[in-house]
Symmetry: C2
Subunit: 419 residues, 2 copies
Amino acid sequence: MTNRIVARYWIETAHPLEKAAAVMAGEQSAGTFVRVPGETPELVERHGARVETITELSASDTPSLPGSKPPKGTLQPHYRRAEVVLSFPFENVGTSLTTLYTTVSGNLYELGQFSGLRLLDVDIPEEFAAVYPGPAFGIDGTRRLSGVYDRPLIGTIIKPSVGFSPEQTAEVVKTLCEAGLDFIKDDELQTNSPHSPLKDRVATVMRVIREYAEKTGKKVMYAFNISGDIDDMLRGHDLVLAHEGTCVMLNLLSVGLAAVSHMRRHAALPIHGHRAGWGALTRHPALGMDYSAAQKLFRLAGADHLHVNGLRNKFCESDESVMASARACTAPLFGGYQAMPVFSSGQWAGQAPDTFSALGHTDLIYLAGGGIMAHPGGIAAGCASIKQAWAAAMQGIPLDHYAAMHTELKQAIEMYGTL
Amino acid sequence: MTNRIVARYWIETAHPLEKAAAVMAGEQSAGTFVRVPGETPELVERHGARVETITELSASDTPSLPGSKPPKGTLQPHYRRAEVVLSFPFENVGTSLTTLYTTVSGNLYELGQFSGLRLLDVDIPEEFAAVYPGPAFGIDGTRRLSGVYDRPLIGTIIKPSVGFSPEQTAEVVKTLCEAGLDFIKDDELQTNSPHSPLKDRVATVMRVIREYAEKTGKKVMYAFNISGDIDDMLRGHDLVLAHEGTCVMLNLLSVGLAAVSHMRRHAALPIHGHRAGWGALTRHPALGMDYSAAQKLFRLAGADHLHVNGLRNKFCESDESVMASARACTAPLFGGYQAMPVFSSGQWAGQAPDTFSALGHTDLIYLAGGGIMAHPGGIAAGCASIKQAWAAAMQGIPLDHYAAMHTELKQAIEMYGTL
């Protein structure tokens, strides 16, 4: 007997909860709701999804999403909310990650019975581990390649997002290396473009990084955005490797799940996973999915680093959601498969204590743009201020106290603390 | 001077419209909103996205999506709605389909300035045609391979969705061939599973289809769902081809854009594109995107058939939206690139006249499950009833009149007409 795939959902429906849950189970498996020829009791027993639990929550007189169809003849529909746990036979899916995704999401979002449906989490049977090895580098490999231990990797993103030539990019990288950064990445918008061909960008940037490493012993990790078609990504990866680069970046949602797992099988470098486009799948609380579910699929596919936004970010996501995502990325899967969460968006020294206390460890990449670049003491001071903030956080010293002895942190608080 | 990429959005914001649109343009290009070092006027001129037009629409006192941040100090935010057209320099993107997708969607959905943001359409510069050949078969190739001209392909889906062995599937296929179907497909949930390995399913099903073709001259098109990891899909395609199959199916959103374009480069068979999971991206009108935008990306990637739901479907989508999607799939792109729309969900003979009059042609695949299987005269009668309905529609004869002379259609109207 193999394990079943278990998925947890938040639903809202004007139909009886048991009936609504049965529709979900039927739509996403052998069908138990509308009987068709050949659908024997044995087949349903073996291949039907099961409703494991239904936990009723609140209710509302207005539907969260438009387009749902209340039971016929209902004059004043009452929309009940519940958490529903379904389980799916492993036999239906096999060890295909893309079929797993189709099975736990798929047509569910379009079902007329629901005025809200969101995938909250998914438990994946261990059979998948035999096929998907997961992150090849993860936390340990990233620390080994970057030489940064016992604190977060402090990083930044090349800005402007697009527009720099390979030579201009390399110049900025030189400045960033000298400023003490551990990690630099391309913007998600910058891939292999006419004004900055990947070939030239890799060559010029890696020359700077290698030279700095030869001089100082510190090799800065640069995540080259190789996102594109499959063959372009394979070539891009090999190019980065040939120039002794230590990281490649993928726009996970743009290239897709099959592309990520394909790159993982080929890659000899950590995969930095950006989630551009994620908002469309998660922004409305009654639709789409939580990152708790999505990040598992991307970890299985092989992403080593996963973006999780940041505390007090410039986007719409709440701090609770950000921290839940970050914890999810490092929660072991099959006893391992940990990815490094990447904090980004509106980050400066100030969020270090709260991030550390909420997470309880420093296995993360902490990206700051303005929080480093706009520091009144310059880029090196900006980088130093963040390292100081993390040192304070790890020692349990309030930032203000620590700042009394550390000029760069003091300046950062003066600059950003009132924003 | 190359063309620019043009994208049209529906937005809702408590910020001044001009400012909000500038934030969109800045976030998705070189940035024009928050200036960073190196962002020269020349760079912004060359690489910045441009706000082309802003057309104010209605307004509301309540935000469509939670999490947005009104301007500081606003006590009673007023949420303005508008259609915004942005254009992006080709130089930023190059001819990468996945970067195009990141550029026109990406982080936009998460921006705190917006309580609603939806991508309505995208105009893609002709430069992409040199890299992405689009549907290899499209309408003409599908008609040639199926031998069906001057009317829709009438098809069905193997049900139960999952659970049949390859032998059981082949038995059903035999019945369906004899019933006069033109097209049969795997369910989106049925890929390469332990109880129905693709290898065995292709062999048993194609034996039946070949035998029927040898006997009658009619080769039914079967869309085998080869969705999975890249290497699995390549092997799956070659297997179908080796057994003289004429179609492969991909779950477009599960495998992703890079996988679809990779398969297109390899495929010697039409790609049947299923959009399971699409609801998450489109169900809320203030979030995600219209199919008018998404279908263009999938056509460029090379999908020959694209699911569009159906009139009076069992899901939440309105008839207007269904027909807009279907028209979009056949609207020429770069003077070609037409995909065949696939109508499915709750379809029977009854929707033929409205589908034909709204579309104006018969270049489509019309899938019915219960509308064929549950026909009181049996499967052959179910299939005949749909062909009769299309014949009536194409001749402009009301279904009721045509039914007077055609028993199967008459039975269908009696059976389904009152549902």
